[in-house]
């Protein structure tokens, strides 16, 4: 009898041996009960393993995962494609610094109630954000409007980049510098709500909020913080305020982009293609906005319109592909409209 081919049994089981070796092993197995048993035991291990169900993911994990992946993809885009980053950073930096300045100012007032004007020029206050109390609500807008100003605060706040991760169970480490700034801002605001007089803290929060632009990365990061079991009620309140103030701005941005696209001409093939690509950009940039679904349908309709003008098969393929992709999403709200659009490709 040939030597026991123990090393080859695993590959024999998987039918991964070359013909000659496979025949040799098969011949050995026919004559060797020990190796035959060995092979069956190996097969039984495999069968047992294959019968094991996948370990269950925690409740809600899989439902949340696509959104978390999407946020990471957005955060992964180059900063140049996210023009709101610097205004956001500026607003958040102000949310951090303003309560500190206020506290400092108030403590000075307690020490010497006769010197409020001097306190405004105190050297400890950062030059771009050391604003008097009455201008706090407007200051973030000014900061956001000037990229030079906006760039200073986040540079001062720079910290070593932690590992990028959007954690599901544990409170998430910030995905990028903006999120980290947001977390620091949230903490600072929470602290200010406790330590600083309420009338001063509230305008500071709301002022920063206008500059936040309502981007998902920021608001959800704050939301995750607010959802922590150890989060102070004041922090949750601050986040709720922030979301409420930022949402109208985001909706306005979406709407403006939508209206801009809606007025684009599409009489010639060139115009129609430009319009189609504008809708493509809209879908990509505003995929969570209130006009997202309508934008997707407009994109498909624009793609169909291009084909009807050009009769170019490449344009037809784009329209068909986008239409099919839309119809594949469970619960897509405008299925019949998209089907109608796709029917036009046949005329």
């Amino acid at each position: 009898m040939s030597p026991h081919p123990v090393e080859s049994l695993s590959a024999f089981l998987d039918d991964e041996l070359e013909d000659a070796e496979r025949r040799g092993v098969a011949a050995h197995l026919a004559a060797c009960p020990s190796c035959a048993r060995h092979l069956r035991e190996m097969a039984a291990v495999d069968a047992l393993a294959r019968g094991m169900p996948a370990a269950a993911a925690p409740d809600g994990y899989l439902e949340a995962l696509p959104g978390r992946v999407r946020r990471r993809i957005r955060a992964d885009r180059p900063a140049s494609t996210r023009p709101w980053v610097w205004p956001l950073a500026a607003g958040l930096a102000l949310a951090v610094l303003a309560p500190l300045v206020l506290r400092q100012q108030l403590s000075r007032e307690r020490v010497s109630s006769s010197a409020p004007a001097v306190a405004m020029d105190a050297p400890a206050a950062p030059p771009t954000t050391a604003a008097p109390e009455q201008s706090l609500a407007a200051a973030p807008r000014r900061s956001a409007a000037t990229p030079q100003d906006a760039s200073r605060a986040p540079q001062r706040e720079a910290a070593p980049a932690p590992k990028v991760r959007d954690a599901f169970v544990a409170p998430p480490p910030a995905a990028n510098e903006s999120d980290r700034a947001a977390q620091r801002a949230s903490s600072a605001v929470a602290g200010s709500a406790v330590d600083a007089p309420a009338p001063a803290a509230a305008p500071a929060e709301q002022g920063a909020l206008v500059a936040v632009e309502g981007k998902e990365e920021r608001t959800e990061s704050a939301g995750a913080l607010a959802g922590r079991s150890d989060a102070a009620p004041s922090l949750k309140k601050a986040d709720a305020l922030r979301r409420g103030a930022a949402e109208p701005k985001r909706v306005a941005d979406d709407e403006k982009a939508f209206q801009d696209n809606s007025s684009l001409p599409a009489s010639t093939p060139q115009e129609a293609r430009r319009t189609r690509e504008a809708w493509r950009r809209f879908v990509s940039l505003h995929s969570d906005g209130p006009r997202a679904d309508e934008g997707r349908v407009r994109f498909i309709e624009a793609a169909v319109a291009v084909f009807r003008l050009t009769r170019d098969e490449a344009d037809r393929a784009i329209a068909e592909r986008e239409g099919r992709a839309y119809l594949a999403v469970p619960g897509a709200p405008q299925v019949s409209r998209v089907r109608d659009a796709l029917r036009l490709l046949e005329r």
Binding site: H38, L65, V169, A292, V329, L342
Partner: protein, 198 residues
Amino acid sequence: MVQAAVDATEADLLASAQGGNLLAFDEIVRRYQRRVYSTALRIVRRHDLADDVTQEAFLRAHRALASYDRGRPFGPWICRIAANLAINHVRSPEAREEALDEAALDRSPAAASDGPLDALLEKEARSVLEEAVGRLPAEQRAVFVLRTFEDLSYKEIAIALDLSVGTVMSRLSRAREKLRGALAGYLGPALDRAGGAS
């Protein structure tokens, strides 16, 4: 054509995602997330690490979409990315392995078997196997997972993990030997059930 439109293919979704449609990529994530997470968890053995790996795998897949050949099936590709990341995780110094949550195993449906004793034995055997898989060296475990749960060929595993086919073969053989040894006391009933006892 309209009927065909209803049956959107994976290639349609991928093409739309390649064009920048994040919602199309969302749908791709939904279709494959359970498989990717499961592959990752079987290798890294901890939910938080599996979560990292799963997210990172989809992120890398998205980055590589522009050059992705839509003629290739997406599932094996994304699972290979996940397996590679999972191995790197396990090799990293901070990685600390833990056994899979027993509760997760308990949530599994009861094994189909002939009686309560068989069911008990099979459940126990699974538990032993799960522990034994967890004790395998990461490299052997990854090969075993990709072969047994993902049904990849040796060549596919070799490409995925940047190994030679011979290395895949020997690692898999060693892994199976260890698992067989760990399960020695349970294999008799399993063979009997399979009708293959000698």
